[in-house]
Structures are given as C-alpha cells and as structure tokens.
C-alpha cells in the first residue's frame, strides 16, 4: 500500500565535483511526486542513490526503518524488491526479446507457472500499448517503445515504490499523455509511492501531488503541488513556467552580470499562470494521495493565481478526459469516462 521514503541530509559528489548537497525530502506513502531540475543537476544520480546503486557521501535514506546507505549488499537486494525502476533509456536486456524482458522479474522472483507469467506479461504489454511486439528485440524498436517496455518490466512485480526517470523524453505528446494518465491510474490501483523525474512542465503541473526542484546543487524546494505552483520564488517560478527570464540560464546558472542587466532593464516576471487541475484516475476512483483542488492554498492563506482550478476553455492540457470529469468539482465523476481516444489528440506538446 505504498511505502514512505525519507531522505535526510543527502550529499553526493564524484571526486571533487559536488552534484548536490544536503537534500532532505520525504516521499509520502502512496503519493505521486515529481522531481524537476535543469539538465545535469543530478536527477538521475538522485534516483540511483535512492535504490542504492550509488552511495551518497553523507545523509540517510530510510525505507521501512532501514537506512539504505548502511545496509549490507545482501539486505539491499532484499529491499530493492520493493522498487520498480524505469531507467532513462529503458535499460532492457539486449539479448532478450520484449516478452522475456518483461517476464524476467516474474521468472526470477516468483514461482508462477508459464501460463500465469504469460497472462501478466500480456496484460502489462497491453497496458503500455506494446501488444504484438513480444518477439521484437530491444535493438529493433524505437526509443519510446523501449521506454514503455521498461515501464512494463518495472511494474510487473507490483512494486511499492515506482521510480521513473524521464518517462516523457523520446515520447510523442500523445503517448506522454497516455503515460501520465497511466501513472495516475496505476497509483490509484496499486497505491505505490511514485517518484517521476521529468523536464516536462506540463507533466509537472498536472500529474503529481508533490513537486521538488533540484537547482544549483541543492534542493530548491519540495512540497505539495499547489505550494510550488503558486510560489513566487524566482527559480521555481521560472522553471514551472518554462520562461527565459529568471535565474536559470543556458549554462546551468546565469552569471551575476546578466541577472543585473535583466533587472536594470526593468523586466518583470510574467504573472503566474493559473494552477491547472490535477489528472484524475480514469475509473473515477479517488487516489489515496489526492487532495481537493485549492485545499493547500486555502489552508495556508495563499491566493492562487486567477483562473486556477478551473477547466480553462480552449486550453487543452494533457489532463485529457479526466479534465472533463473534474470540472464539476472534486467529487467522483458519475460515469466512467470512455472517450480518451477522442480527448487525447487535442493534447499539445
């Protein structure tokens, strides 16, 4: 039913290069969190620390009372069974076809019969839209397909914690919308804790319950989505709104002179865009981590930007069909929305 991951004071460097330091955050059990950050800020390195593939210099990662950074190798292999991980390039086994790749964890860790394995694998392949490609080798398919196959493999053991590295890079906008909806649905069905690393602002605005931003070798902010989406903090604001104006430049950070010039030019940051509604599970069930829209803002006395939590006419987000179900309020939509094929082509990249 989802497991909490508690990270405290984590610092990682390679040789003399500090990647990030003193990162503390808690991934609440059963909720979806997104980790954002400019390229090269060490998001992938962070994921690898979470699963014990890399060892941090300092700090602790606590899962079910175990500090991952101190576990013996053997114990670590046990704890890793809680995880389903999608690597940035899928990390499929090149010598096996897609079917065997996805069946691999089942054959290794369960005593299921081949027919049961087949049923589960077929189900997961269908879910990520790869039915019919079972016999293909990873070298023979596109990057987006490899990614979806990697996701199917990560999900096959019903993990408690799902870590996903850039699900949307190399995917077209329609597939991205499907994958995002899939995460929300999965989270509702298996209740796992999700951490999604992404660059895609649209994903960050509509999918997660919590957002974190890595920047300048530390965690700039981590918290409920409404906190970050309504934040006035320049870096957060710039990143979540994909603007050029702000402290982030082409080469990681703008230099002081450039920032000063920008300020003297009297440039005002554009106003915060409205906070979009969150994606809802397609079957109308409520996810464990889901909170009513605007609840955080209300509880903290923050006025959300005008137009927030509404279905903006003419603006189609990747919210797809869920958006429609949602416009009547946060309560469960009455019927099962089954028009996703109709709603999806309107998605913008």
């Amino acid at each position: 039913m989802g497991v909490e991951v508690k990270v405290e004071g984590l610092t990682k460097s390679f040789g003399r290069q500090v990647i990030w330091s003193d990162v503390s955050l808690t991934l609440p059990a059963g909720e979806i969190s997104v980790l954002l950050g400019p390229s090269g800020t060490g998001k992938s390195v962070f994921l690898k620390n979470l699963i014990g593939l890399l060892k941090p210099d300092r700090g602790s990662i606590t899962i079910q009372g175990n500090d991952l950074t101190k576990l013996s190798e053997r114990k670590l292999y046990e704890v890793r069974k809680l995880f389903g991980v999608l690597f940035q390039d899928g990390a499929l086994f090149g010598s096996m076809n897609l079917y065997d790749n996805i069946a691999f964890p089942l054959r290794e860790h369960t005593r299921k019969s081949e027919s049961e394995v087949k049923r589960i694998v077929d189900d997961k392949m269908e879910m990520v839209g790869l039915a019919g490609t079972e016999r293909k080798l990873p070298g023979e398919i596109s990057g987006g397909m490899r990614k979806r196959a990697g996701l199917a493999r990560a999900l096959v053991l019903d993990p408690e914690i799902v870590l996903v590295d850039e699900p949307d890079s190399g995917l077209d906008p329609v597939r991205t919308a499907y994958i995002n909806q899939l995460f929300v649905d999965l989270n509702q069905q298996i209740g796992a804790t999700f951490l999604i690393v992404t660059h895609d602002v649209n994903t960050a605005r509509t999918v997660p319950d919590n957002i974190g931003l890595l920047y300048r070798r530390h965690l700039a902010m981590f918290g409920p989505r409404e906190m970050l989406l309504s934040s006035e903090e320049p870096v957060v604001r710039q990143f979540l709104n994909a603007q050029r104006q702000g402290p982030i430049g082409m080469s990681e950070e703008k230099d002081v002179g450039e920032l000063e010039a920008e300020r003297q030019a009297g440039y005002e940051m554009p106003p915060l865009p409205p906070i979009a509604l969150q994606l809802l599970p397609t079957d109308g069930q409520v996810r464990a981590g889901q909170r009513p829209p605007g609840a955080w803002c209300q509880a903290n006395g923050v006025t959300p930007p005008p137009g927030s939590f509404q279905d903006p006419p003419g603006v189609a987000g990747s919210a797809g069909n869920a958006r429609h179900a949602q416009s009547s309020g946060w309560t469960k939509p009455a019927g099962r929305a089954d028009d996703d094929t109709l709603a999806l082509p309107r998605v913008e990249g």
Binding site: F14, E73, Y77, F93, F104, E108
Partner: protein, 278 residues
C-alpha cells in the same frame, strides 16, 4: 576504500576511474589493482552461490569455444613446427639428436601450450566478454539487473569465469596434442628423424606432472582473463568509446598478468616437481 557497486562487501561506491587516473596516477593505479583484486575475490565468493547459472554457462562455454578453437589449432600447428625445427637444429649442433622428440614435447607441453592458450583466451574470449559486459554497463542493463534483485557477478561473471577456465583446460589439451603431432610430423617426416627415437626420448624426459602443471596454468589463465575482462567491462564508462577503451585495456592488462603469472607458476613448478632423471 571504494569498491565496485556490485561488490559483496558493505560499501557500494564506484568512483569514476577516469578522474582518479587523471588526478592521482599512482594511487589511482593502485586503487584499480585493489578493486580488481576485490572483484576477483567477490567472484570466488559467489562461485558456490546457488543457483548456478547453467544455461548462461553452457552458452558462454559454447561461445568461447567457437571463437577460440579454430584459431588455436591454426596457431599451434606452426608453433609446434617452429619448436621442432629450432630444437632439431639445436640438438644436432649439440650432438643430442636422440633427444629432439623429448625436448620438443617438453617445450610444447610445458610452455608453449599454456602461452598459446593464454593468448587466445585473452585475445578472443576476453575481448568478447569485456565488450559484451561493457555494452550492458553503458546501456544500464547491469543497474537494471541489480534493481531487479539480481547480482550481476553471480548471474553474469561467474558463468563466464567458469566457462573460460573450462575452455582454457580444453584448449590447452588441444594445443598439446596438435603441437606434439606437428612436432612429430616435422621431426620425423621433414627432418628425417626416426619415429622410435622420437617416442622413446620423450618417455625418458617428459613426465605426467608436466601435463598437469600445464593444465593448471591454463585454468588459472582462464580465470584471470575472464576476471579482468569482466571487471573492465563492468566498469566501462563514457559511452561506446568507453567500451572500446575498456576492451583494449583488458587485453593489455590480461597479457601482462598472464605472462607474469606464467613465470611465477613455472618457477614454483620447478621447485616442487623434481625434473626427471636429475
């Protein structure tokens, strides 16, 4: 102390080797040697761990055999011939023609066959293993495997090491047979020696421990070649170029180690096993 990430010990840091090499050449080199050694130990420790990967082992053994048998046979025929020619001339100069057979058998069985085996295991099998594991490493397959709860040392390295040892053993036998036959052919047919003298002389000087020691050498060489290749492959970094570099380094390191180990084992052998007739 930094171990490879899959090390059986409690730490799992992997420092980037490039960086260490660049900044501190000597300690970096020592660290690599230490890591290689602890990797070898991890492999030995994982050897008895169940379940043994029979399928991977058979596939690898078959693969290694298929890339090494033909070149080995082709190399050992001229090798045996050269030794026979050299010794045939030398023994005539010394007036000891009757020992030509024995001398060439000793040379082939004791030294030539383990060396030929070593060259082929390192050059053909080692480079293939290193390239294979290296490309798995940069595709993050090894990371994925660890995340799926599988130790790559047990799953991938152990079967390769055992396969290399087995094939080393077989190749060494092959080289001995082919080399001795080649020697016989050149000595008896080309140089006009007598078959009887050839055969009689080698029972006079050669002894069974010669063969055993050669076989032991070949097994050790197989182990070293596979461990170095696996280590280099699993620590490859920096994209496809990193894999190329790793293969290159693994072959060079293996050659150096094998010739050194060969010297040590030979020296020990002569201490332990008294030469026949002395």
């Amino acid at each position: 102390m930094s171990h490879p990430a899959w090390s059986a010990s409690t730490t799992h840091t992997r420092r980037p080797e490039r960086e260490l090499m660049a900044s501190e050449p000597i300690t970096g080199g020592l660290r690599t040697a230490g890591n290689l050694f602890s990797f070898g130990l991890d492999t030995v420790v994982s050897l008895p761990r169940r379940p043994f990967q029979i399928r991977e082992f058979i596939q690898q053994a078959w693969f290694i055999a298929s890339v090494t048998i033909l070149p080995t046979a082709l190399v050992s025929i001229p090798f045996g011939a050269v030794i026979a020619l050299q010794l045939g001339t030398l023994t005539r100069q010394l007036g000891a023609q009757s020992f030509t057979g024995a001398a060439s058998v000793l040379a082939v069985v004791r030294e030539a066959s383990p060396i030929v085996t070593a060259l082929l295991i390192a050059g053909a099998a080692g480079s293939a293993i290193c390239a294979d594991l290296g490309s798995r490493k940069i595709r993050e397959e090894l990371d994925a495997m660890q995340v799926l709860g599988i130790n790559p040392i047990q799953r991938l390295v152990v079967p390769r090491v055992v396969a290399c040892m087995l094939i080393g053993l077989l190749l060494n036998g092959l080289v001995s047979v082919v080399g001795v036959s080649g020697g016989y052919f050149f000595n008896v047919i080309i140089q006009g020696g007598t078959p009887g003298a050839y055969l009689a002389s080698f029972t006079a000087l050669a002894q069974l421990p010669d063969l055993w020691s050669a076989e032991i050498k070949a097994v050790i060489f197989g182990f070293i070649a596979a461990v170095v290749a696996s280590y280099k492959g699993m620590n490859a970094g920096g994209g496809p170029k990193g894999v190329g570099d790793a293969v290159n380094q693994s072959v060079v390191i293996t050659f150096m180690l094998l010739f050194f180990v060969n010297f040590v084992v030979t020296a020990i052998y002569f201490q332990v096993v008294p030469a026949k007739g002395s």
